[in-house]
Each structure stands twice: as structure tokens, then as C-alpha cells.
């Protein structure tokens, strides 16, 4: 392989010191002159008519500059489905519904003003169970929509599932559920909006979609009668995204509206409680699945029916079934596939994109039933998966074109590192699950592109303007490595700027594990243009043929004669400070050759796919139901690791997020109300809970990726839950089908298996004390 200087190196994140020493400026650190503080009043009911809102008391409070309700603002429609408004009019549909907003000179006054807003509600019957909400005659969340089922017909059928069912030698069928979990970004949400005297908007906001956010805010300005005015989105340092910043939110529009009304910059900043209550969760799902195989273990069909709890409004998250289609149709070779998903309105909090974008929910059902089917067919789980493994060159029923594919190698790595065949101790077990995910962008929007502009100064240093968003994952560092590699520069020579839509090119967003692949290719494209110019200048200067010179160590040099070389900076100065002077600048827009889904949802949504297998060894405490992770192996085919250290960070972080999803995390909603809006009761795992994780990296050098790389942002949390569920089954013979896999659920299942009731008594015996289950 190529001998790289920057690519493939364990380079610390370029902003690591700044962050570790507290100098990075998050939204919480920003303060503009004259800035006011905005606060939001939320609903007191999950579903209610707003009879009246009296803001007079709040308005009279000294220090209050503005109080807004829906009556005071134009009709700004938010979200992909345009069913949400910054402030709710007429009725509220969930506890997090925004009812009023205030701006005041300090946060305390703003809080006090909220207490002075008097809202009279008339409670309405509410509905929290999507299966109930789908029923004929159910209370409607949005009356004008006529039904609680979203008009997004996620439905495909390739081959003939019914015929395949008749042929199958073994079939499994079951129901799996997943619940609400939330991103828990360390940097809570916030934005500052400011209008200039000509009513152009500048908004500082935590977003992972600067260009689409800009468009949303332009639409808002249009609704406000400011059509044609400019919007500039500036990103502060962002403390985590994980999909949470994939939409624009009410609080951002509220900051805009308050700023517009007060003619002052207005900051809306969430505290942790608000972050839990008023940001969105992963979609809870109910999945009915069946899979079948023939006598030899070859998969014949997969049939899935899924219900997603959309909550009261619709975000991009409602399109997660489009991504779920990928594992459903294409994780392993499946000739016949049927899938239908319904997103259903309820009076719960509305769900959103979250790392994996539906893939973890789908993979939980698929990979759990893969093990069940393997057992029925009497085949070892790894062998069973090997029989059905995807291979390079495959085209799946959905039309996904598998180029590089290291799935079997990932399974081999897990098998070896986990010592799969070694005898296990008592109550110990091993389990594994695999994943497929988009690794070469994902065309979920009209464009999947990203632009890059490079300008070089007189000293051989680069300012690089990218559309990408670094929200902590380290894309700035990876982009710098790619460009440094291509131009023979050092990483510190590359200054990556991604923070400002006034100067950065367009990008669809940091999602779909696409940034290294797409923004990396965009940066590489621009660097190649610069390189061509540099070589041209260098060839002239060194009086050598073009094909004989190369860029290395900040120099241009003759390949056969190391004496013949010139420093790049010097060469640039010569070019700049001579007659007809020139400076080097280049732009490149990279839009991968992937495809939008067609009518029947066929289409190669990504240029390439990332594969992986997670294996886990657990020990189950059969008396308490606690699951202890003894060892965890997460093997991924990443194409090429541009930065192995950051890559491992993505995998470790993903696995820990996946473990939380599998075992402990849950937003507890009781009749729509968040019962645990804090880190005390929301059980995200802590540093002390980190388990031993090995992350073998397989490099398959994808021809389309920058230096062969594929995306790896999301995969780390995709197959964790089913791997653990499978290991628990191996250990103690119980199959948990609902997340999170709490000790209570495990213990209840163990007791059920032994024919005991919850309290350990034999079922059906009435001479023993009654098992008291208190309310």
C-alpha cells in the first residue's frame, strides 16, 4: 500500500487542547452586546385546547422586553411535514408544546415573567399508544390531518414473500419493541438571533445542517414579510449532535421572533431539564417480524411490519424507515422481502433522527430473529450468517450495490477475539450481530453534496472552507489530514473553517455517516486542483517534466534528484509577486453518484456500504437479572482508517451509546410526561461503566472513498442491542424482545422459563403466599 504521511495516522483532534482547557466557545459562552434572554413556556397538558392566554402581568414586569404568543407571530410552518409551529395556536398536543415566549434583560427576569403568563386550558382526551392511535375513531392529534397515521407510505415488496413462506423449512415470527432514548449531548441546545438595521438575520445556532437550516430560516423570514433578506448561520463549537440537530426547532424560531420584535440580539439557551423535555428522542418502534430459511440455512424471506411512535409533530426522524429499508432488504442476502412501516401521531414527545437513523431499531429485530432462526435450523449463529453473508459485487433486492464488503472478515475477527468456541463458565454466553450502513453518503435529499473552497497564502498554508459540520466527531481533523496528504503539507498547515454560511459552501448536513466520505472527497477534489497548479508551477521552476515531480514535506521535489527541490511557500511567493501574479485558490463540489429511491423504494442510496459485526460475552446474574459485559468486540470494515484514533473513538462512543440503548437508557414517559428529565434518573452510562472494548478495523480500500475510506459515524451503536440479547440467550436461555433489557425483564424471563411467578413461586400453587405486586 501507499506510504502515507498524514492519512492513517493517529492524529489528535486539532481542537482537542482548546476543548480540554475550556477555551472552546460553545453557545453557552457567547454573549453579544445588548443581548436579551429568551425563555419558553411549555404546555401543562399532553393534549388541550388553549382557551386563553393572559400575558399582561408578564409584560408589566420590569426588565421584560417582549412577550409573544401564537397570536403575535406569523404562520411559520416547521418540519418536513410542516405540521409544527414555533408557538402553538388553538391547542397543545404534547407537554413540550411551546405556548408563549418572553425576552428579558436577564434569565431570572425572563423566568419570572413566564410565571406571570396565565394560560387557561381545556384538557382533551389524549392518546399515548400508537397502536391505539391507529384505530378507527381514535382521538385525532391533528384534526385537519383526518387520521393519526402519517401519509408517508413506507411500503415495499420485492420477490414473493408469501410464496417463500410456503417453501421455507424453518420460520420464526415475533414481536420486538424499542423505546424512547435521547441523545444527551453534553452541549445543550441554544441559539442567538440578531437582526441588522436592514433586517438581515444572523443566527448563532447549534446545528448539524447549516445549509438546510439557512433555508428554513429564509422561509421563516418570508413568512415574517422579509422575503429576500439574508440569513447567515454561524455555528459555535458544538458539543455533540448524534442527529439531534438535524432539524430546526421552535426555540430557534422563537429566538428569531423575539430578536425581531425587540431589535436586540436574543439568546435562547436550554438548561438540562429543558434539554431532556424539549428535544426529540429516537423513534420508539413496535416490530412484527418473520424470517424463514430453507433446509440448508439459506434465507428465503424477511417480512416486517413496523409501527413508529411519531409523537405529536413530525421531524426528519419520520423518514427513518427509508434507512431501515437498508438492513431490512440488504443485511445478508434475502431474495424476498416485504416491509411496511407506519409513523403514528400520539400525544408523546416527537421523535427525531438519532445515530443510526432507525437502523438500531430494525437491526434489533432482524439480528435477534437471525439467532432464533439459526437455532431452529440447528446451525451455529456465525455459520448461519456466513451462509447468507453479503459479498462484494452483490446487488440486493432493493438495488443496493455492494462494492467493498468485509462482513465475513468482521465475523471472523469477532469469532477469534471473543474466543467464540471456548467453553464458557456458568451463566456466561456469547452473542453477535452484524450491521450494514451507508458508508458513501446517503441520498435522502435532492442533493447529497458538499462544497469546499481552498485558498493558499504566501507561506504555503491553507484556509479551507467546507460545508461540513464538526460537532465533536473530528471532521475538521480528518479533512486536514486528507488535504495535507494530497499536497505534501503538514496537518497544522491546514486551517479548516466550517462555521459560517456566509463563507462556507453548501452541504446537506453532518448525518448519514457521510462527512468523511463526502466532505473528504470534496476537500480532496479541491486539493487535487491545487496540486495540479502547484505541480505545473514546480515543473517550470525545477525545469523538470511534470510526471517527475512530487509534493512532499512542504516541498516540491524531483523524484530522482532530491537536491532539486523548492519549498512550496517560496514557489507560491514567486508566483504571487511576479508580473501577472497569481495566487492559488480552488473550489470543488462533490455530489456522490448515489441515487434517490424510486417509486418502489429501489435505488442505490449510497456509493458504498459499511459493514460490521459486534460480538459480546456476558455473564448473567440469575438471581438479580443483572447482565455483566465481560468482553466486547466491535469489528468494522471501514474501507480505510484516515485517523485510527478518531475512528476508535467513534466506535467506543457508539458501543457505549449502544450499551445504554440495550441495557439502561429510557426516557420514561407517563401519559406523555417526562418523568426523568435529569442524569440522575436517565441512565446514560458513565465513565465507570465503560466495558472492555476491542475495535478491530478492517480495511477494504473502497475505490470511491477518499484514500479508500467509508463512513463510520453511526455503525458503532447499530448492532449492540441484538448482540447482547443474543448473548443473554446463549447464557441463560431467555430471549428479551423489549428494550432496554433491564434486570427486571431478565429476571422475570428467567423465572417464567423455570415455571415460576415473579416472586419465585411455582405457578398454579395456591398453598403458597400470594405474590403481592403493589401498585
Amino acid at each position: 500500500m501507499h506510504n502515507f504521511c498524514s492519512v492513517g495516522k493517529r492524529v489528535p483532534k486539532i481542537d482537542a487542547v482548546e476543548k480540554a482547557t475550556g477555551r472552546a466557545q460553545y453557545i453557552q459562552d457567547l454573549k453579544l452586546p445588548g443581548m436579551l434572554y429568551g425563555k419558553i413556556l411549555y404546555s401543562k397538558f399532553p393534549h388541550a385546547r388553549i382557551v386563553s392566554i393572559d400575558t399582561s402581568k408578564a409584560k408589566q414586569l420590569p426588565g421584560v422586553r417582549c412577550v409573544l404568543t401564537a397570536e403575535d407571530i406569523p404562520d411559520i410552518k416547521m418540519g418536513v411535514y410542516k405540521d409544527n409551529r414555533p408557538l402553538k395556536k388553538g391547542k397543545v398536543c404534547s407537554y413540550r408544546d411551546e405556548v408563549a415566549a418572553v425576552a428579558a434583560v436577564d434569565p431570572e427576569t425572563a423566568d419570572e415573567a413566564l410565571n406571570g403568563v396565565e394560560v387557561i386550558y381545556e384538557p382533551l382526551p389524549a392518546i399515548f399508544d400508537p397502536e391505539q392511535a391507529m384505530k378507527e375513531g381514535a382521538t385525532l392529534i391533528h384534526e385537519e390531518h383526518k387520521t393519526n397515521v402519517l401519509r408517508m407510505p413506507w411500503k415495499l415488496h420485492y420477490g414473493d414473500v408469501d410464496a417463500a413462506k410456503k417453501e421455507a423449512a424453518h420460520i420464526v415470527e415475533d414481536r420486538f419493541t424499542t423505546t424512547w432514548v435521547t441523545h444527551c449531548c453534553m452541549g445543550a441546545s441554544g441559539s442567538i438571533a440578531e437582526f441588522d438595521p436592514a433586517n438581515n438575520l444572523k443566527i448563532y445556532s447549534n446545528t448539524q445542517i447549516p445549509s438546510l437550516a439557512q433555508k428554513d430560516f429564509l422561509d421563516a423570514l418570508t413568512a415574517m414579510g422579509l422575503k429576500g433578506n439574508r440569513v447567515r448561520v454561524i455555528k459555535p463549537v458544538i458539543g455533540g449532535g448524534f442527529g439531534s440537530k438535524l432539524d430546526t426547532y421552535a426555540y430557534e424560531y422563537i429566538a428569531i421572533l423575539l430578536a425581531y420584535h425587540t431589535r436586540r440580539p436574543v439568546k435562547v439557551e436550554f438548561d438540562r431539564t429543558e434539554e431532556f423535555i424539549a428535544t426529540s428522542t429516537r423513534q420508539p418502534t413496535i416490530t412484527y417480524i418473520s424470517q424463514g430459511c430453507d433446509q440448508n440455512g439459506k434465507l428465503l424471506f424477511r417480512d416486517i411490519n413496523m409501527i413508529l411512535d411519531n409523537g405529536a409533530y413530525t421531524s426528519w426522524g419520520a423518514t427513518t424507515p427509508s434507512v431501515m429499508m437498508m438492513p431490512i432488504t440488504s443485511l445478508y442476502r434475502v431474495p424476498n422481502v416485504r416491509y411496511e412501516a407506519k409513523c403514528v401521531y400520539t400525544n408523546n414527545t416527537y421523535a427525531q433522527a438519532m445515530r443510526g437513523y432507525g437502523n438500531p431499531q430494525a437491526t434489533f429485530a432482524i439480528e435477534s430473529t437471525m439467532d432464533m432462526l439459526a437455532e431452529k435450523a440447528g446451525i451455529d449463529p456465525i455459520e448461519f450468517r456466513r451462509i447468507n453473508a453479503n459479498k462484494p459485487g452483490d446487488v440486493s433486492t432493493q438495488g443496493l450495490r455492494i462494492t467493498t464488503c468485509g462482513l465475513e472478515e468482521c465475523m471472523d475477527a469477532v469469532k477469534e477475539k471473543l474466543e467464540w468456541e471456548k467453553p464458557k463458565g456458568e451463566s456466561e454466553g456469547v452473542g453477535l450481530a452484524s450491521l450494514i450502513h451507508v458508508g458513501g453518503g446517503a441520498r435522502v435529499y435532492k442533493s447529497d453534496g458538499c462544497g469546499t473552497i481552498i485558498k493558499m497564502n504566501d507561506f504555503g498554508k491553507i484556509d479551507l472552507f467546507t460545508g461540513a459540520t464538526d460537532m465533536g466527531q473530528g471532521s475538521d481533523t480528518v479533512i486536514a489530514q486528507i488535504v495535507a496528504e494530497e499536497l505534501g503539507l503538514q496537518i497544522e498547515d491546514i486551517h479548516v473553517i466550517h462555521t459560517d454560511t456566509d463563507i462556507c459552501p453548501w452541504d446537506v448536513g453532518s448525518h448519514a455517516s457521510r462527512t468523511t466520505f463526502v466532505a473528504g472527497n470534496a476537500a480532496l477534489g479541491a486539493a487535487k486542483k491545487i496540486k495540479a497548479r502547484l505541480l505545473e508551477l514546480g515543473a517550470k521552476q525545477l525545469e523538470a517534466p511534470l510526471e517527475k515531480i512530487a509534493l512532499r514535506d512542504r516541498h516540491i521535489q524531483h523524484q530522482d534528484d532530491s537536491e532539486k527541490r523548492i519549498e512550496i511557500g517560496k514557489l507560491l511567493r514567486k508566483a504571487h509577486f511576479s508580473h501577472g501574479g497569481q495566487m492559488l485558490m480552488a473550489e470543488y463540489f462533490y455530489d456522490p453518484a448515489n441515487e434517490n429511491m424510486g417509486k418502489d423504494f429501489r435505488g442505490n442510496m449510497s456509493m458504498t456500504y459499511t459493514f460490521g459485526t459486534h460480538g459480546v460475552k456476558v455473564k448473567v446474574d440469575e438471581e438479580t437479572g443483572k447482565v455483566k459485559i465481560l468482553n466486547y468486540v466491535a469489528a468494522h470494515d471501514v474501507g480505510k482508517a484516515i485517523n485510527p484514533m478518531l475512528l476508535e473513538g467513534q466506535v467506543y462512543g457508539g458501543v457505549m451509546m449502544g450499551l445504554g440503548y440495550a441495557l439502561t437508557e429510557q426516557v420514561i414517559l407517563e401519559k406523555g410526561e417526562n418523568m426523568n428529565p435529569n442524569f440522575r434518573d436517565y441512565k446514560i452510562l458513565t465513565a465507570k461503566d465503560v466495558v472492555p472494548i476491542e475495535a478491530p478495523v478492517l480495511e477494504t480500500y473502497d475505490k470511491d472513498g477518499p484514500f479508500g475510506a467509508k463512513g463510520i459515524g453511526e455503525p458503532g451503536c447499530v448492532p449492540t442491542a441484538p448482540a447482547i440479547a443474543n448473548a443473554i440467550y446463549d447464557a441463560v436461555g431467555v430471549r428479551i424482545k423489549d428494550l432496554p433489557i433491564t434486570p427486571e425483564r431478565v429476571l422475570a424471563a428467567i423465572r417464567e422459563k423455570k415455571g415460576l411467578d415473579l416472586c419465585g413461586q411455582e405457578l398454579g400453587r395456591d398453598d403458597v403466599d400470594e405474590c403481592i405486586i403493589e401498585e
Partner: protein, 300 residues
């Protein structure tokens, strides 16, 4: 967050007189890890916070060699208790409990007194100290008094302190010879975790090293206050301690508990865990008692 004035008295009397001047508008603060959370959540809104952290007092647990009593000052931090060789060697039940409170950062500031006065059923510090038959020393305008720590807890968030009174220390009587003890916090994660259930067991053995001379079994989050499972204790006294007898005691303790369903755990599971964990902590206490006897440590 609401603004308040922070007062720093240097003596108990000064603190009490400050409290008397401000009355309901004042609140004592030690480490602040409960008080400040409540202020932030809007559950408390004092105008004055009277700090107890600058009152000159013992900053670590110590043994009165004459009486064999352990003194734990109320303003001692969990970290001080955790790192005390005395506690580690002779009061492992207390060590087990404090070493898993919150995180190191929390333990560095949070005090045992604050933990007790906060009086939640989940207080990790309370369970070992009631198992050890601790007494609470209290000082106030009317002078000094002492109550059994077990009686100190009146209800969730309520303890036996008159207005302005300060808990000054907990005194643990001399341990019987051949004693072992252990505590476990049953939760979902390894740090920053309030117990779903807390179980402490103390066993003192006869010279035969298997007959129970004295038993202490305490439960957290099993009732509105930290409790002792007295019937279960009674069941053990005079019996040979082994897995069987402990399991019986555990079952009785489960029946004595008044566990409830909450977002932190369901009642049936909590009750079942009482039985399981009393047995486990009992076995651990037994092992520790034997080990102590072997190396001749025990307590004089």
C-alpha cells in the same frame, strides 16, 4: 437560579444565632450537593445560606480508644470516610457505602451530615450507620441532645431536628468481637447512581465462629425511611449462619419491607432483591468476620 446571601460562621453557636435571626429565610448548607440541586429545581428558595463547612471540627472519623466508640463528625466528607484506614479496616459496611456515592467530585464536597439530614430513603450513608446502631448528636439553641439514628428519620425528607438544630456527629458504639459487615447499593450503573435498593448486614459471631450473637439488617429505599429489618435480625440470632439461614432472613426482610413501584424500580423486583442481597451481604459479613478473627483485628 435565585440569588442568596452566603454566610460563613466559625462556630456552632454563631451558626445557630444566624439561623435564629433569619429563621425560615435561612437554610444550612454543608457540601451543598442536595441544597443547591433543590434551589436550582426551585424546590427551595432561601435568602440566606449558612455554611457549616467552616466550623472548626474534626475532619475525619476517629476512635475513642477508651470507649471503643467511633465518632464521625457531621461535616466530614464522604471522601474522608472512604479514605480513612480506620473505616476501611473495621467498618467495611461504611466504606462499602461511601465509596460508591455519586462520583469522586461529589464525595469530595458532600458530607455525611448532609446525607443524613436530607433524610431520603435512598441515603447511602444512613444504612450502614443505622446498622451499626449509630447515635446522632444534635446541638441547638436549647443545648445538646442525642437520639438513636434509626429514630432520627421520620419520613421522606424529614428528620428529628428542631428548627435551627445542627447534627454534629454520629457515634457508633463499640463493636462486638468477631463482627463483620457489608453494604451493597443495587442500581443500574457504576457511578452517579442513587440506589434502587440499599442493603446492609452486620453479623457478630459467637466464639464458635458460626453461631450468630447479634445481627443487624438495614434497608434503604424499602420504606419511606431507612429501616432495620428487626424480624429478620431476630430470626438469625442464635442460629448457625449459612446460606440457608441467611436466605430465610432475607425472605423475612423482604416481607418486612414496604417497597413501592416508582420510576426507579418496581416493587416486586425490589422485594425479591432484598431477599437475594441480604443473603449475599450476610455471606460477605460472615467472611469478613472470619477474616478479622484470623488476623486478630476485630474490635477491642
Amino acid at each position: 437560579m435565585r440569588k442568596f446571601t452566603y454566610l460563613v460562621p466559625k462556630t456552632l453557636d454563631e451558626a445557630i444565632s444566624l439561623y435564629q435571626s433569619y429563621g425560615e429565610r435561612a437554610k444550612y448548607i454543608a457540601g451543598g450537593t442536595d441544597v443547591l440541586v433543590k434551589i436550582k429545581e426551585g424546590k427551595l428558595a432561601p435568602d440566606y445560606l449558612i455554611s457549616l463547612k467552616h466550623i472548626i471540627s474534626q475532619d475525619r472519623p476517629f476512635l475513642n480508644h477508651e470507649t471503643g466508640e467511633l465518632y464521625v463528625g457531621a461535616f466530614v466528607t464522604h471522601r474522608m470516610i472512604e479514605t480513612s484506614p480506620l473505616v476501611q479496616a473495621h467498618y467495611p459496611i461504611l466504606y462499602d457505602a461511601v465509596k460508591n456515592i455519586g462520583s469522586v467530585q461529589i464525595r469530595n464536597v458532600a458530607t455525611i451530615g448532609g446525607n443524613l439530614v436530607n433524610a431520603v430513603p435512598s441515603a447511602d450513608g444512613a444504612i450502614p450507620l443505622i446498622t451499626l446502631d449509630g447515635k446522632a448528636n444534635i446541638y441547638g439553641a436549647k443545648g445538646q441532645r442525642s437520639v438513636d439514628l434509626l429514630r432520627f428519620f421520620l419520613g421522606p425528607g424529614q428528620c428529628d431536628l428542631e428548627r435551627g438544630e445542627i447534627l454534629t456527629e454520629v457515634v457508633v458504639p463499640r463493636l462486638l468481637p468477631r463482627t463483620g459487615s457489608a453494604y451493597i447499593k443495587h442500581g443500574r450503573r457504576e457511578a452517579m447512581e442513587l440506589p434502587m435498593l440499599g442493603v446492609g448486614v452486620l453479623l457478630s459471631l459467637e466464639a464458635d465462629m458460626e453461631t450468630c450473637a447479634k445481627a443487624g439488617i438495614s434497608l434503604g429505599v424499602a420504606a419511606p425511611t431507612p429501616i432495620r429489618a428487626l424480624q429478620a435480625e431476630k430470626h438469625l440470632v442464635g442460629k448457625t449462619i449459612n446460606e440457608e439461614t441467611l436466605a430465610e432472613a432475607g425472605k423475612i426482610a423482604g416481607e418486612e419491607s414496604k417497597v413501592r413501584d416508582s420510576i426507579r424500580g418496581v416493587a416486586w423486583y425490589r422485594r425479591e432483591m432484598v431477599a437475594v442481597l441480604v443473603t449475599r451481604m450476610g455471606m460477605k459479613a460472615l467472611e469478613r468476620a472470619s477474616r478479622n478473627a484470623e488476623v486478630g483485628m476485630g474490635n477491642k
